[in-house]
């Protein structure tokens, strides 16, 4: 057999049938469901009198619009309450396991999948959410789907797919102090552009990727979609197995060892063909800050806001001028001179325990700047519990951070956590689109440590020589 990539192997393993039109029917091992993109899918099943084919392969959780304030009080937003109740009812009616907002296992869908061991190497995982690419950190083929496809998966446990191309992202060298997984992925997106990975599955490889923790790998794979790729992949290794061992939904005992023997085969073969190859040297990476309204608009914290007039492509030049106007920034401004009003720590990109530890290390014994409102939203109830056991909550609260309940929160601002018009935010989330964190809100994407330092100083700082 010709040498195959990791993507080729997982793909081949899941083809159920080939349709007359040439597309493949792909088997889906794991389906994650949340309140925003599922109601119309369950309604479709009801109308056609269909059942969920494999409820045991489906896991539902509320995350997108759930308030992050005190959960013992009623939900202040009736529309949000209706959507949440609809998911609870659908889960009951169709026999799907469901984590409500009162369950300690509740959290952002892409955080709880790995946390529960629902996410496993070599599986196919889908969810009606584009950041499903997160699960690729385990060597799972994972991507976002639309609601019609959610209904298709619920009804048939399969998805109609065309095979994507293979892209290798090779990150050599070791990260310098103060530079993180977030900076790796922001740098990659800056390099290839927001459509650079369209039509491809990205496999991340190289020393810097191997050296990342599982949580760092999740951060990298999470933002594959921001580079246009539906899925990102990292081959599983000992770190992957150590992370998964003992998780509630992971195989237990001898079954785990049997699984590891199979997982060990999930590697790209020597000589396998990649349609595109991108290389990056981690040793030269700085901490990165986004300056515009696309995740490709990134620059070193030591740099200045770029001048769009230097861009030759007219459509792109116009778009970057529009971005600067929206962001209220002038070309040539030093990044470290940009003052901020808000800080958001959380999201499926950076809402895990290591992210909260990184923030706590930066701010311990310090105070959030008087001009800044800073919030921390743990990625799940279990992350929150762990942080509280480690005393992270006390450090953050003492520094002046608002310590909240888990959910997607101000990453997409569907709940009351949002920016006011023109407020400027250092955010550990994944999208800086116009209006993403609130109407006319201004988002700068950064790593948790960079967001923490900005919270203290009231403006961006180069954490390589701070504190």
């Amino acid at each position: 057999m010709a040498p195959r990539t990791l993507y080729d192997k997982i793909w081949d393993d899941h083809v159920v049938d080939t349709r007359e039109d040439g597309a493949s029917l792909l088997y889906i091992d794991r389906h994650l469901v949340h309140e925003v993109t599922s109601p119309q899918a369950f309604e479709g099943l009801r109308v056609s009198g269909r059942k969920v084919r494999a409820p045991q392969k489906t896991l539902a959780v509320v995350d997108h619009n759930v308030p992050t304030s005190d959960r013992s009080k009623p939900n202040p937003d009736p529309e949000s309450a209706t959507q949440i109740e609809t998911l609870a009812q659908n889960a009951r009616d169709f026999g799907v396991e469901y984590y409500s907002e009162h369950d300690v296992r509740q959290g952002v869908v892409h955080i709880i999948g790995p946390e529960q061991g629902f996410t496993l190497p070599g599986t196919t995982i889908v969810c009606g959410d584009s950041h499903t690419s997160t699960h690729g950190a385990f060597g799972a083929l994972a991507h976002g789907i639309g609601t019609s496809e959610v209904e298709h998966v619920l009804a048939t446990q399969t998805l109609i797919q065309k095979k994507a191309k293979n892209m290798l992202v090779q990150v050599d060298g070791s990260l310098p102090e103060g530079v993180t997984a977030k900076d790796i992925i922001l740098a990659i997106i800056g390099e290839i552009g927001t459509a650079g990975g369209t039509g491809h599955v990205m496999e991340y490889a190289g020393q810097a990727i191997r050296e990342l923790s599982m949580e760092g790998r999740m951060t990298v794979c999470n933002m594959s979609i921001e580079g246009g790729a539906r899925a990102g992949l990292i081959a599983p290794d000992e770190k992957t197995y150590a992370y998964l061992r003992g998780r509630p939904k992971a195989p237990q005992g001898a079954a785990f060892d049997e699984a590891v023997r199979f997982w060990d085969t999930l590697r790209t073969d020597d000589g396998a063909h990649f349609d595109e190859v991108v290389r990056l040297d981690a040793a030269n990476l700085p901490p990165i800050v986004s300056w515009g309204t696309s995740p490709e608009d990134v620059i070193s914290v030591a740099g200045v806001v770029p001048d769009p007039d230097q861009i030759t492509d007219e459509a792109k030049r116009i778009s970057k001028h529009r971005a600067l106007e929206y962001m209220g920034l002038k070309a040539g401004t030093k990044i470290t001179d940009i003052g901020i009003d808000r800080v958001f720590i959380g999201s499926c990109t950076n809402g895990r325990i290591e992210d909260l530890r990184a923030v706590a290390r930066m701010v311990e014994g310090k105070k959030v700047h008087a001009n800044v409102n800073a919030m921390v939203v743990p990625g799940s109830g279990l992350v929150k519990q762990q942080a509280e056991q480690e005393g992270i909550d006390r450090i953050l609260i003492a520094a002046g951070f608002d310590w909240r309940e888990p959910g997607c929160s101000m990453c997409l601002a569907m709940n009351p956590d949002r920016l006011a018009p023109h407020e400027r935010c250092a955010s550990t989330s994944n999208r800086n689109f116009e209006g993403r964190q609130g109407f006319k809100g201004r988002t700068h994407l950064v790593s948790p440590a960079m967001a923490a330092a900005a919270a203290i100083e009231g403006h961006f700082v180069d954490i390589r020589n701070w504190g």
Partner: protein, 202 residues
């Protein structure tokens, strides 16, 4: 699902690249549990002023464009979130075809489940179509899916690309789930039996 064969209508120019799905339908409209009614939220942050009145500078508020059924837009249309609310909002507003040089993957897939045609043209042809679209209501375009042609007001013809497999789906208005359940049921059963033996931990 509504079939797509031919369409003649006003084309609105949206000369922005990387139009993301947050822009197409912002999050405040995602709390619905229905597929319909999202047309009012289409492009709302550009379309409405802060007080909720129409922003006269936005293309769909300009005379002649309110009844647009075609959108001509910059590169990489539909990037970002997987929300199918984006094609639902476009279709609910009355848009049946978006023309661009490229589309983000998930949005592209979602279009075909909603009778919305994403037509891919070259950069050169897109510029031509922007010129046509800028002429307003006097310059309707005709889209012929079977022939993969866009016919302009002056007799100009632009060819567009479309995935051949999905073209049939739009032409016939086919429902994927029914087809999978009825024609692929035995294949899915067989696959599940096989993995139960090969990968019992799943």
């Amino acid at each position: 699902m509504q079939k797509f064969t031919t369409l003649t209508g006003v084309a609105a120019p949206l000369e922005i690249i990387n139009v993301d799905t947050d822009m197409i339908i912002p999050k405040q409209y995602l709390k619905t549990i229905k597929r319909t009614g999202l047309g009012t939220g289409l492009f709302s942050e550009m379309r409405y002023n802060e007080d909720g009145s129409d922003n006269p500078d936005f293309v769909l508020n300009k005379p002649g464009y309110k009844a647009a059924t075609i959108l001509v837009a910059g590169d990489n249309f539909g990037c970002g979130s997987s929300r199918e609310h984006a094609p639902w909002a476009l279709v609910d507003y009355g848009i049946r075809c978006v023309i661009s040089t490229s589309f983000a993957d998930i949005f592209y897939n979602n279009c075909f489940n909603n009778g919305l045609l994403p037509a891919i043209v070259s950069r050169e042809d897109l510029d031509k179509l922007f010129d046509d679209a800028n002429r307003g209501a006097n310059a309707t375009l005709t889209i012929d899916l079977e022939a993969q042609e866009i016919r302009g007001p002056d007799g100009g013809v632009v060819k567009f690309e479309i995935d051949p497999q999905r073209k049939q789906k739009l032409l016939n208005g086919l429902d994927d789930i029914g087809e999978t359940v009825h024609a692929r049921g035995p294949a899915i059963d067989a696959y599940e039996q096989r993995i139960a033996g090969n990968r019992p931990w799943l």
